[in-house]
Symmetry: C2
Subunit: 347 residues, 2 copies
């Protein structure tokens, strides 16, 4: 008797049967050959007044995700979200996704299907077509590799290198939620966690597992040329502001009191007696946009954000390169902004 599908393991299928099942899982988010899956390469047809944006992310088990506290569906969703967020940071419209998956053959097929369902959910939301990829065996860990292709009107892409002295520094949404969510996932059953309202725990974990790529706002910033530079917050505010300032050859000063945090994150900080600075500056994966705005674009930006319901907050100002990067604390003191973001290869 054949096993029920959910208990089958990957090695009980051939590579090509697996690919067929995954194409079914993707349903109308996949494009068939010759425009998509099934040939040596996918073919895409550009329109003449657009530029294409291409970005690639590699996500490793035990480094970027941990299936002991994250479902495979959430892992699939987040892997795609991280990649789509790069398009948001460039002001582009994500169009096509290529998905590489390396997985030990002993994994249940259900894991792979859940992973694809997760990324399909996000592809549906943003009308992205999965046009190709590669599905191979690995010896121990799961490895996910995504390449996203998007488009932007020629000359309108938001780059990191355009910030000018005097520009204001803005951020979308709230910071620290994802970092708090991660810590809650890692210490889920502690006494302290149980003291927090369930809705708070759920919200923060959800923000870690299901970040929202700020595609729509990124598109508006690019289309209306409202931002001089932009980056998405993957490494943490501190590290990513350093990246933006280095690319733009400028310095920056931000005010600690201005950093937007959610009421849920505030409750978490109180419950844990954690450092608000550490959580909002150094923990990454919020996938909010950090962007700079010239003085005469501030009013149009604020009007647009208010009208369309986008939460944006002004954090500080771009200054000259030689002034460095500083943080203005709530007691009025001023300190250098440390570069303490996530480091893959720590010194």
């Amino acid at each position: 008797m054949p096993r029920p599908p959910s208990r089958r393991i990957v090695s009980s299928l051939g590579e090509f049967e697996l690919i067929k099942i995954l194409q079914q899982t993707l349903a109308n988010c996949s494009l068939p050959s010759p425009r998509g899956i099934g040939d040596d390469a996918a073919i895409i047809k550009p329109t003449s007044d657009d530029e294409w944006l291409v970005s690639k992310d590699l996500l490793l088990e035990g480094i970027h995700f941990d299936s002991s506290y994250s479902s495979y569906q959430a892992i699939g969703y987040k892997s795609a979200a991280v990649n789509i967020s790069d398009m948001a940071a460039m002001g582009g419209t994500p169009k096509f996704l290529l998905v590489g998956l390396a997985i030990p053959p002993s994994h249940p097929l259900a894991h792979v299907q859940a992973l694809y369902r997760g990324l399909r959910d996000l592809c549906k939301e943003f009308r992205i077509s999965v046009i190709g990829g590669d599905t191979v065996a690995s010896r121990t860990d799961v490895c996910i590799s995504m390449t996203i292709i998007g488009k932007v009107k020629a000359g309108h892409a938001l780059c990191r290198g355009g910030a000018k002295v005097g520009d204001s520094i803005y951020v979308t949404g709230t910071l620290g939620d994802s970092g708090a969510g991660l810590r809650l996932l890692q210490h889920r059953s502690t006494q302290q966690t149980r003291q927090l309202p369930k809705s708070v725990v759920r919200f923060l974990i959800q923000r870690h597992l299901h970040p929202t790529p700020r595609v729509h706002l990124g598109q508006l910033l690019a289309k209306r040329r409202l931002a001089s530079a932009a980056i998405d917050l993957s490494d943490g505010l501190s590290g990513d502001l350093h990246h933006l300032c280095e690319a733009s050859h400028v310095g920056a000063e931000i005010e600690m009191s201005k950093i937007p945090i959610s009421s849920q994150c505030a409750k978490y900080i109180k419950n844990r007696h954690e450092s608000r600075i550490d959580l909002t500056l150094a923990s990454g994966e919020d996938y909010e946009l950090l962007f700079t705005v010239s003085p005469h674009h501030q009013q149009p930006l604020k009007r647009m954000a208010a009208r369309l319901g986008h939460m944006i907050t002004r954090l500080g100002t771009i200054c000259a390169h030689q002034q460095g990067l500083h943080l203005l604390l709530e007691d009025g003191s001023r300190q250098g902004l440390p570069r303490n973001s996530y480091e893959h290869f720590p010194l």
Copy 2:
């Protein structure tokens, strides 16, 4: 005293210092931000009468490569070659490469630099720019993920699905060299191997480690519309002919006596008493092109190949789908063509 560069390990560098070193290694094969490395995405500008081809490959330590018998430079070269070969199979011109690398932080920096030197060599040869990627830590194995973007004149891409009944089946180069080279690498110091001339061993190993993507011939086939369908031989002639025939809904008959083998491979087969059928049909990674040609394109194809010095061999004929795939043996007997190519997730 700082360690000499060659002895430094990856974790002695920050992620961004590592990226800088790798950009230096790539030298003039990399494009800087905003067109390449250094922003959230690379920006590429299409021209209006081209289509873009995109392909992605994932290569895993212990599955696709083994550093116990392959240098990191060879691993880098081959990873790029595999990807570029997909462009050749579509008749495209490779233009841009994105390189994802996951590596345990304890690896020597010299390994990473050698890997990048290897892919740089091939990028130089084909004038490909490395425009982005991702460099992350892994727990155990090295994982390489490449995405290649190429272009082709609109409507000219060679797909797998275009073969018609009566078309001839052609292959470039010689088959089986890579498989023989792999077996020699795996059993380098056996008595049998020592009986083979060194030049034979070197040739076959070189063909395994440094396959030649058939970009130029693929471009000609596409430009002059000489091929009705094409695929590159990564899984082996048998498996890849099945892929092409399935996509085209046709059958095929090939003659064993026509399969081109090199004199070196013939010596290897004699030395090992190996099955010529197994080696040339079932062992993969030759990265030659398999393509089909309609009757009235055969003469122009032969003239073009002769003039430009491309080795091509006619193997057989495309027949109706219901006739299936067959192999005509040297004794005149006929057998079904087994689908015994490399299988990532064997049943």
